[in-house]
Symmetry: C2
Subunit: 289 residues, 2 copies
Amino acid sequence: MKKNIVLVEGAGFCFGVKRAIDIAFDVAQKHKDNVFTLGPIIHNPQVVEKLKDLGVHPIDDISQEKIKTLIIRAHGIPKEKFNEIKKLGCEIIDATCPFVKKAQNLAEKLASEGYQVLIIGDKKHPEVKGILSYAGEKAVVIEKENNQFDKDEKIPSLDKKIGIIQQTTQPLHKAKEIMNRIINSLSEFEEIRIFNTLCNFTSKRLEETKKVAKEVELMLVVGGKNSANTTQLANLCKEIGVKTYHIEDAQEIKIEWFSSAKKIGVTAGASTPQWIIDEVIDRIKKFTN
Amino acid sequence: MKKNIVLVEGAGFCFGVKRAIDIAFDVAQKHKDNVFTLGPIIHNPQVVEKLKDLGVHPIDDISQEKIKTLIIRAHGIPKEKFNEIKKLGCEIIDATCPFVKKAQNLAEKLASEGYQVLIIGDKKHPEVKGILSYAGEKAVVIEKENNQFDKDEKIPSLDKKIGIIQQTTQPLHKAKEIMNRIINSLSEFEEIRIFNTLCNFTSKRLEETKKVAKEVELMLVVGGKNSANTTQLANLCKEIGVKTYHIEDAQEIKIEWFSSAKKIGVTAGASTPQWIIDEVIDRIKKFTN
């Protein structure tokens, strides 16, 4: 019996990662020599290996190699690094996620207009290091994880005029909590200017997955067993009460899963490439047609 | 025995009201004809009567009288009203509180830069009506009192780019609560630009009163028995545990109050003129010297 398969909108790679990988493969297909990505384009070995086969290699340091073409990955890089690369005279292909670029641009704009820039994010994350490099000398990064923002603790000493941006992948609730803390000290400020630089992709994927899980009889959640966000998706589906399988690839799928399900939902974590999702869909079709 | 008298910093008129009254008396002393204030300069009959004696009369409507000089009081007035007055060709003396003026200017700036202006304040208050007239067509006033902002209620539908200002006398905690609610809907906005237009005078007076009340043996709180903010000051002192008298003027003071107190504190509400405070101090000195 033919089954109805519903793929969750936004399953798999986020827009910025997908775009960066597309750019890398596009470059790879032009068969140029000495093409590199600064750091792995994504933390997915299959993708990195495929690119290597096509002649696009990840490097950690620009001094190591003779570079003709350098691809900057979705996270973006610090301004100083960018200027250093420019001096090499190589072709630069900037695959920085447009949302990250927007955060970099806003950081630069705020700093140039005299705001102290406050970035809500993880200090060690490459994206934050990049944004910070555009945010001027007075910029600070606030990350709750390091207990910089304990419940009864005061906000670090800040200027009267502050501009707030967020690492694009920060959880909304964390960003809100920190901003509410700042609002609570309103009397210490003249102006608090908040730009929303959050990419709502992750929360949207969760929402869409929830919606689909409620209307199907079986959910397949595709992604690494050790992927936090894929596991989160699988748990969400289980909580809703739908029969759920967390799989890493199409080979794990068993024909007997589909005996009683008329409508089947498919979702995938942020590190799951489209071709794995496609293979999963194909195998479901094969088993259910 | 000589006593130590401590007058609370910021007791009595706030800066803006004091300034407006000073301006009115200054004009009065120039003995001009046909000088008016648009509305009473302060809700204190003694002050208004004194000004009348000096030839400065409150009017409600500019069409009623032949006006040579018109004083605009601390609250400010709507832009349209101001333009209407300008057409009269009379001398305009603008005693709008500089903090209110700042809020008007920021409202106009935000509106001209494309922000939807959100004013936290009481819709019916003359100050808010004035600010609103500068805030552009899309502006909204949010006032918790009218249940526009119930706990589980959504924020009224707003633009993606909003600018927030506050009526200068709004309680800080109310402004914070409303702004926190807006931050909680961050994902619906691109930019939230908050200017602090609160006059921290009232909260500062409370703080300073608290400080003095803790170090004296007797507190005299001067102001109308029906004045909310004077009563608040008196209650604060009583809560701290110091012997407290809430008086309206110097005549109520009794010599026996001072028998056991070495250090006496004096504070006053926002509508208490300085000369009443001075009379109180003089009478305490007379009784304790």
